[in-house]
């Protein structure tokens, strides 16, 4: 049953990758890449159970953290042209 869930996750990764390649705007690509990262986390967890070594969960946890930071950073970079830019024009933000 782990193999069925892993197969479903792999099929979904393929579908998401199609959107990431042909997405018309850059936000489609960011969204698809973020989703691909989430599915990678799920796949690492399932493969850990499938191979009888659930210690892979630490890798999945770290991957989830990096995925969140990456999605936020890339969306901010695309919107403002830089990661260190404040969020609003007049509002200096909380930096």
């Amino acid at each position: 049953m782990f193999a069925a869930a892993a197969a479903a996750v792999l099929v979904t990764m393929g579908l998401v990758l199609v959107r990431a390649i042909k997405g018309p705007s850059v936000y489609d690509r960011i969204l698809a890449t973020s989703n691909f990262g989430t599915l990678t986390v799920v796949l690492i967890a399932i493969v850990g159970f499938l191979s009888g070594r659930p210690e892979f969960l630490d890798i999945a946890l770290v991957y989830a953290l990096i995925n969140f930071i990456g999605a936020i950073a890339v969306s901010k970079f695309v919107q403002f042209g830089g990661v260190a830019h404040p969020l609003g024009k007049d509002d200096p933000g909380d930096i």
């Binding site: 049953m1 579908l15 998401v16 959107r19 936000y27 399932i46 969306s75 695309v78």
Partner: protein
């Protein structure tokens, strides 16, 4: 007792896989970036959380369950936040969501806030009861 836990775990894993595939099909087929975010939310929350809960039932009361619970809580907080950030960036860039149903237009084009592209003409398809 063992078989009951196995059945619960399998049901959760199958539900998670089905929701993942539904979200993937939605990401392929939906017309707009904002509607695709809806499909992405299905994968991020329902699919991943159901699969993690199935793995948690399978693992029992061990440290693995604690790690899986931490990952579930973390993903339920961060994935909607990331989707919100992407939506806000898309809105700030000038993409406006599709809010009308038009079968003639090519829905894969995007509407710019200051452009003339895909301006909805509601002259001949007024949905109110005054027309018909």
């Amino acid at each position: 007792m063992e078989i009951v836990l196995d059945i619960i775990s399998w049901a959760l894993l199958i539900c998670g896989g089905v929701f993942c595939i539904i979200g993937g099909i939605g990401i392929i087929r939906l017309p707009d970036v904002f509607t695709r975010m809806h499909a992405a939310g299905i994968i991020d929350t329902l699919g991943a959380v159901a699969i993690f809960m199935g793995l948690m039932v399978q693992a029992g009361f061990t440290l693995i369950t604690v790690k899986l619970a931490l990952m579930t809580i973390f993903m339920m907080f961060t994935n909607p936040t990331a989707t919100h950030a992407v939506a806000r960036a898309a809105l700030g860039e000038g993409l406006i969501p599709l809010t009308y149903d038009d079968e003639d237009e090519d829905l894969s084009d995007y509407v710019l806030a200051d452009g003339e592209l895909l301006e909805p003409d509601t002259n001949d398809k007024e949905p109110g009861p005054s027309k018909t």
